[in-house]
């Protein structure tokens, strides 16, 4: 089998991510094989014979080799898991059984009910400091199914959306109707954080919460200090609290 130019790398190390290295190794092996088969020099191969000989089928075969080991990929977009459930692991269907779902982040700070009848069930990074906290009813929005439901029937008044998607597109048609947002991912600079700021919607990003179910009355500490840029460079992070209102 032919040697590749990059095979002699004085400083190179294999990447720490096993999947990246597995794919990278499989592709470089493929390139070596096809280069040898081509019987041309590299300059004729790289944008000539190689473009013809290294095919989509080759990459499909690499995917098959990985799946044949029993490995299943993690998914990030719902469409990926729904179209090809056989190649993706994790059966967490974000559209199903929201009535019984709750985020259960182990790092969420929780507490007993305080004098105002609120029990802390987590925290997050406040996007913009506001004069008052936001109080409303928690409703999970995790898939396009629920977005369509709210497009048809309207977003119930006082909804504080609990979202795990830090993007700005999933909730695009309904976002402006939220009374608050608790997002389990991203940072205050994520698209959802940017849009919450634009709309003036109280919003906590990168929230770690436990025990909040659809329909629970919650309060988010929108009056807390907002997350400063410095905090992302090792400064002290000021976190805003999330409470369940129990009475």
């Amino acid at each position: 089998m032919s040697k590749l130019y990059i095979d002699e790398d004085r400083y190179g190390e294999a990447p720490p991510n096993l999947l990246v290295e597995t794919v990278r190794s499989a592709v470089t092996t493929l390139v070596r094989r096809r280069f040898a088969e081509s019987a041309v020099d590299w300059s004729a191969f790289v944008f000539g014979a190689g473009d013809r000989l290294i095919t989509s089928q080759d990459f499909t075969d690499i995917e098959r080799q990985i799946l044949d080991t029993g490995y299943r990929f993690a998914w990030s977009a719902v469409i990926s898991q729904r179209e090809r459930p056989a190649i993706y692991g994790g059966a967490d269907d974000v559209g199903a059984d929201l009535a019984n779902f709750s985020f259960e982040h182990p790092e969420a700070a929780t507490g007993e009910p305080d004098s105002e009848g609120r029990s802390q069930c987590g925290f997050g990074e406040n996007v913009v400091r506001r004069r008052t906290n936001a109080v409303g009813v928690a409703r999970y929005v995790r898939s396009s199914d629920r977005v369509i439901e709210y497009m048809k029937n309207g977003v119930p008044e006082g909804t504080i959306a609990i979202i795990d998607d830090s993007g700005g597109t999933l909730t695009a048609p309904i976002l402006e109707h939220f009374a608050g947002i608790v997002c389990a991912g991203g940072t205050v600079r994520s698209h959802l954080g940017i849009l919450a700021r634009e709309y003036g919607i109280p919003c906590l990003m990168n929230a770690k919460i436990r025990g909040i179910h659809d329909g629970d009355r919650i309060e988010i500490e929108a009056s807390a200090e907002s997350m400063a840029a410095e905090a992302y460079f090792g400064g002290e992070a000021k976190l805003a609290r999330v409470w369940k209102v129990v009475r």
Binding site: T55, G167, G200
Partner: protein, 511 residues
């Protein structure tokens, strides 16, 4: 021994640009964003777009320059609000290309010296464009200027400033502007498949001790060169909108090469103190006011646009929600890759096959682009820098990280002493798309045109301010020649559509 088609100074300069791009990309990706999407397979489409950029940008930029040089296109960009600013030109053009190159290097499909003349050309095109676009602030990038972008000529700033309508929280204009800005931003994220490339900010410019001007552009709003807007955006009357904003008691500390900003205190609607609204495109004489004849007209226009964009958002979202993964992958990859397509619109050489298909050399990688691999590989390419090609000698301390790594592989100088290299990846090859074909309908300032007509008009049109008579009349010249008839003529041209300054010429001095 092959006679190299590039010189030592060219390689030195190219490698300097590559290194600068790499350092800034690392900083931007590490500090400016954490994105995720349940709707779009974002990382897979980003990798696909990088590959398409690598295989196609060199040929397409040469095609554009055969009609109009980079520096002249940038002269146009300095006088309008199209998608030829940040992040499109300031960051994406070189970095999408270089990230595609780095990805292929990591897979053993390239050597550092392959496509060497392409790399030199792409980086040179970018440098010439940026020098021209940024000629008023004298930097190549916002990074070089300490993350600031003072692009506009003084005469345009005077018009933006004087024509602003003041507003305060609670008044109808403030409410209309606030609602419009939020809706247009939201629509932009959707149009761009969860990326921020449909909006950009430039500035700040000092208005007085308490006010700064920030200029926000919204791009690709109407039925134009993104096929998924066909039909759903039929009622959107402008493809590009520019909103100059006066901001009170808020200092913009960062305006980066992605067109996003940070300020102290944080910018919220309460700080919005004045607003204007303009449109522009390859067929306009620079910025044209929209609904600016009166305060009431502007309020009505902003409200109307809010409604139109809300309707388009709902229709577009329902269209996207019904897409297959391949359609989402293509739309995301294309909107990313064709982020520089407006160069072709201005040059009048836009071609659907060039900008709305995935080159078969890139498309073959599609089976590898599952969510997990793409996410991890993208992380390695832009932030982890842990692929073998990233690793450097242990003595190296990279900017921002002190690690022995480099975002991008430099071009090897050894080609100058005989090491063999391949100059180019070759011409654009046939491409594919799973999306509906683009309808031959392009919303422009001259109405809805066919592509052939749009290209023809763009080729035949040069805005007066960009003609040879005026384009070199720079701020230094105006400073010492403001009393001349020619300077007055230049200013009157800029003021033609101004409500407050029309006909004032250079007699109206900045406040």
């Amino acid at each position: 021994m092959r006679n190299p088609g590039v010189s030592y100074p060219q390689l030195l300069e190219t490698n300097n640009r590559i290194q600068n791009c790499g350092d800034e990309t690392f900083w931007l990706c590490l500090t400016r964003t954490v994105q995720g999407s349940k709707l779009f397979p974002v990382s897979p489409y980003i990798l696909l777009s990088y590959l398409n950029a690598f295989y196609r940008y060199p040929s397409l930029l040469r095609k554009i320059e055969a009609r109009l040089p980079a520096e002249q296109i940038a002269d146009r960009a300095r006088n309008m609000g199209m998608k030829m600013q940040n992040s499109a030109l300031g960051w994406a053009l070189p970095n999408f290309y270089l990230l595609g190159r780095e990805l292929l290097l990591s897979l053993g499909m390239l050597r550092p010296q392959d496509a060497l003349e392409d790399v030199v050309y792409v980086m040179d095109f970018w440098k010439r464009y940026m020098l021209s676009w940024h000629r008023n602030d004298g930097h190549i990038t916002n990074r070089e200027f300490g993350h600031r972008a003072q692009i506009l000529p003084d005469r345009r700033l005077e018009v933006f400033h004087r024509d602003l309508y003041p507003c305060t929280p609670g008044d109808p204009l403030h409410a209309a502007a606030h609602a419009f800005l939020a809706m247009a931003s939201q629509y932009g994220f959707l149009v761009s498949c969860e990326s921020r490339i449909s909006l950009t900010n430039s500035g700040p410019y000092r208005l007085d001790d308490h006010h700064e001007l920030i200029v926000r552009d919204f791009m690709d709003l109407a039925e134009c060169s993104l096929p998924w807007l066909d039909g759903v955006a039929a009622d959107v009357p402008y493809n590009y909108l520019t909103v100059p904003m006066s901001v009170r008691d808020c200092h913009f500390t960062i305006v980066d090469d992605w067109g996003s900003f940070e300020s102290k205190p944080e910018f919220t609607a309460e700080h919005l103190a004045g607003v204007g609204l303009y449109t522009s495109d390859p067929l306009t004489e620079g910025y044209m006011p929209v609904g600016m004849a009166s305060r009431d007209e502007l309020i009505g226009t902003l409200r109307s646009l809010h409604g139109v964009l809300k309707d388009a958002t709902n229709k577009l979202w329902l269209r996207i929600a019904a897409w297959t993964r391949d359609q989402m992958l293509d739309a995301g990859a294309l909107v990313y890759y064709n982020i520089i397509k407006d160069l072709a619109h201005v040059a009048g050489v836009f071609d659907v096959d060039d900008w709305l298909t995935i080159d078969r050399r890139a498309d073959r990688f599609r089976p590898l682009l599952n969510d997990e691999f793409a996410g991890q590989m993208l992380g390695s390419l832009v932030a982890g820098l842990n692929l073998p090609n990233h690793r450097q000698s242990p003595y190296v301390m990279m900017q921002h990280s002190d690690q022995p790594t480099r975002t991008y592989t430099p071009l090897p100088y050894s080609v100058l002493c005989g090491e063999e290299y391949v100059p180019s990846c070759g011409p654009v090859q046939p491409g594919t798309s799973h999306l509906d074909l683009k309808v031959d309908r392009y919303r422009t300032s001259a109405g809805v045109l066919s592509l052939a007509e749009y290209n023809r008009r763009a080729r035949e049109f040069t805005p007066a301010l960009c003609t040879d008579k005026y384009r070199f009349l720079c701020e230094t010249w105006v400073k010492y020649n403001h009393h001349t008839a020619l300077a007055n003529e230049l200013y009157e041209l800029e003021q033609r559509e101004s409500r407050t300054l029309r006909g004032r010429g250079t007699t109206a001095r900045p406040r």
